[in-house]
Amino acid sequence: MATIKVESIARPEKAVSNFTYTDLKLDLDFSYTQNNELLKNKEIKDLVVDYDYAAIRNSIFNIITTVPGQRILNPNFGINLQKYLFLRVSETTARNIGNDILNAISKFEPRVKIQNINVEVDETNQQYEITLTLVMFTLETTSSFRLVGTLSNSGFFFNN
């Protein structure tokens, strides 16, 4: 086994963080880690990141909005909610949607446990309101939180 040495790339300092999970925030944006007006030019610019709750929220959003096959390197990733697009908005479909979300989150998001999934049918607007009650047991303090989103013919969006 040969080794390639790249001396120009120095090892970065081990970061000390108060958070358990750190994810990239999309869309990409810069943040300023110092704010010393005298040293404005030397100010370190870094990418904005999401921590803990926000990071997990990203993950769940990605799971729900990714259709299997879209991630080339992991084609099984995601849920195919598009298959319900032309089906009648009904309790049965809502149950199926709930099951799909349950299976996918259990499979791809090990950081949370699902306490409850509630898929409500909104026949008037031809959409579903999905409420996820999740427990973040991997954080220092176990806490539960709710994510509420809407699934309609224009896609899935979180409401909170």
Partner: protein
């Protein structure tokens, strides 16, 4: 610590061995080495998605890097464009399309007075909508006042499929090594099919007071030429267009500024231009004519030549008894790889047997399917001894040998180089079992060409192969071996009991394996007849379990496992005949053909064992 971090444990060929998955894993490892990001380990995270995109993009780039790397070397290049450019480094010129060639018979009626006549170059016949043209001025003599067969004309000349086309006149810029690229495309942007060996270049030197057209000649390499040689190098480039390159007054004459260059090329109809026997019969000869060509003809035809007139041409009768040769596509990548090495080794001079073989097979692949070359010693100890052993007291008088010896050899034999060539086209006549020989005109064409590059002292004789028939045969004990043993001999195919294959289609497939293996278009002259190879091909067919050769005569049955091949010379079936059940190599002068190809499927029987038989077996 820093050093440790900078150690990327990659294989030595890592940059090409990387793929998306390994890159993703590497990025994750590096991100895990510090705490800045953590979510790369969770598939759902944003950063994981971004890593996927980067890794995949890198993967695609690596794929193209690999493709590019492998396409840049001689051994690994597979694309025509690339191998064409690579072999240019060793001055190899790939061969382009080769049009069909037609041999003909010519007669002059008594209306043509005795004399010497010349048919002007590019004259043509129109046969069923396709043209066949002469590629040079053709001179013949009419010696008697009555009707006469024009042997000189028919034995030394051939017709080439296609019509000559005049390329727009090019005005030279006068630069050293000036290149003219012949670009002729149809309305769809597809290149016209130009015959590789029939592109003529004429140059009119406008720097002299009375400019005249002169025909320049092609050369293998300008670097072998003198400063005043009126030559050009022609090369089929990677875009399948011909590049005509002129000299620089050091190696090959340079074009002067405002010199005019006229190019005439033979535009072929491809495989749709092939014709069968008799198509030429009674067709009228047309003369090629354009204002520029008339001027060129006047300038380049020697004054002592008497060009035939339209009226005189109408007294000539042309016919053909052979079909045209097959149209040949551009040289393939594989072929370029083989021929480039051999040509480089020979440096365009024919010294060793292999040089002759390579040269002929490269340049005459439209006529010849298989070729061998031997010196006089090998010829005497091989081909002539073969006839001696057969009991032919004077092998030199054997008709084919004598024919070639008289037509193409001088009286001194020690310096002879015998080239055995098998034509691509099969000729089956009722008189002889197999008569696939090059005709005199084709042999003369080869000879004329080889004269330019052969060793000065070598005398070339184009010889005909000895055809041997291949059949299936088993000999009963005490029986005399004759071709008749094949009459009741069959190939027995034992089918898998579960096979659902139609026995008739299986027979047809097996017949095709034999027919293909012993096809005239195969390079089998002096080749190995591998029964192992044929057996493996048959066993690879779905449903075939066992192959036997079986002969039943008067109720007695003999079965031999595998294939028992009968090989005999149909001209000497009593003396040159043998049976073999193993791989064998033919001598350099023998070429195998499958006897009675059309009926061969009837020599195959397919049996399926019953379930009961299987139960007994187990």
């Amino acid at each position: 610590m820093a050093t440790e971090f900078n150690n990327y444990e990659l294989p030595t060929d890592g940059y090409v061995a990387f793929d998306a998955t390994s890159l993703k894993s590497l990025i994750n490892t590096r991100l895990n080495a510090n705490n800045i990001f953590t979510d790369q380990n969770f598939e759902g995270s944003n950063i994981s998605s971004v890593i996927d995109i980067i890794a995949y993009a890198y993967h695609v780039l690596i794929f193209y890097l690999n493709r590019t790397s492998s396409e840049s070397t001689f051994t690994t290049a597979e694309l025509y464009e690339n191998i064409n450019k690579i072999v240019k480094l060793i001055s190899y010129n790939p061969v382009g399309f080769q049009t069909s060639i037609l041999s003909f018979l010519a007669n002059a009626t008594d209306s043509l007075l005795p004399g010497i006549y010349t048919i002007p170059r590019y004259s043509y016949f129109t046969l069923n909508g396709v043209n066949y043209s002469f590629n040079q001025d053709v001179t013949f003599a009419k010696t008697i006042s009555g009707a006469e067969a024009l042997l000189d004309l028919q034995e030394n000349n051939l017709l080439y499929q296609g019509s000559y086309v005049q390329y727009p006149t090019y005005t030279a810029t006068g630069e050293p090594f000036e290149v003219l690229t012949v670009t002729v495309v149809d309305s769809n942007g597809v290149n016209d099919i130009i015959d590789h060996f029939n592109i003529d270049v004429y140059v009119k030197d406008n720097s002299v007071p009375t400019p005249k057209w002169a025909k320049w000649t092609p050369t293998q390499s300008l670097y072998l030429e003198r400063s005043n040689s009126t030559v050009y190098e022609i090369r089929l480039n990677e875009n399948l267009r011909y590049e005509i390159k002129f000299g620089n007054n050091v190696t090959g004459k340079k074009l002067n500024e405002n010199d005019e260059v006229a190019v005439y090329y033979l535009k072929s109809n491809g495989s749709s231009g092939e014709v069968g026997p008799g198509v030429l019969n009674g067709n009228k000869l047309f003369f090629y004519n354009t204002p520029q060509f008339t001027q060129i003809k006047n300038d380049t035809t020697p004054s002592n030549l008497s060009l035939i007139t339209v009226l005189q041409a109408s007294t000539l009768e042309f016919s053909n008894i052979d079909a045209s040769t097959k149209f040949v596509d551009v040289e393939s990548t594989e072929s370029i790889k083989n021929n480039a090495i051999n040509t480089f080794r020979s440096q365009y001079r024919l010294i060793t047997s292999n040089d002759f073989i390579n040269y002929v097979s490269k340049n005459y692949s439209n006529i010849i399917s298989s070729v061998q070359a031997v010196n006089n010693w090998d010829y005497i100890s091989g081909h002539l001894k073969y006839y001696f052993d057969l009991g032919v007291d004077k092998p030199n008088l054997q008709s084919r040998v004598l024919f070639n010896q008289v037509k193409f050899s001088d009286s001194c034999n020690f310096n002879n180089v015998y080239i055995y060539a098998v034509p691509k086209l099969e000729k089956l006549t009722s008189l002889t079992t197999r008569a696939s020989y090059l005709n005199s005109a084709q042999k003369q064409l080869l000879l004329n060409d080889l004269q330019q590059v052969k060793l000065t002292t070598a005398e070339i004789i184009i010889n005909d192969p000895v055809y041997v028939a291949i059949d299936i045969g088993i000999l009963f004990p005490g029986e005399k071996l004759t071709p008749a043993v094949s009459d009741n001999t069959f190939i027995e195919i034992v089918r898998e009991v579960t096979s659902k294959r139609n026995p008739e289609s299986l027979k047809e497939q097996i017949k095709n394996i034999f027919a293909n293996y012993f096809s005239t278009s195969k390079d089998n002259l002096g080749g190995i007849m591998s029964l192992t190879d044929i057996t493996n091909q048959i066993l690879a067919l779905e449903g075939v379990k066992v192959i036997n050769t079986v002969r039943t005569e008067n109720g007695v049955k003999i079965t031999i496992p595998g294939i028992s091949l009968l090989i005999y010379n149909p001209v000497y079936p009593e003396t040159d005949i043998q049976i073999t059940t193993q791989d064998s190599k033919l001598p350099y002068y023998k070429f195998p053909f499958l006897n009675n190809v059309l009926d061969f499927a009837n020599k195959i029987t397919v049996i399926t064992p019953s379930i009961q038989t299987l139960q007994q077996e187990f």
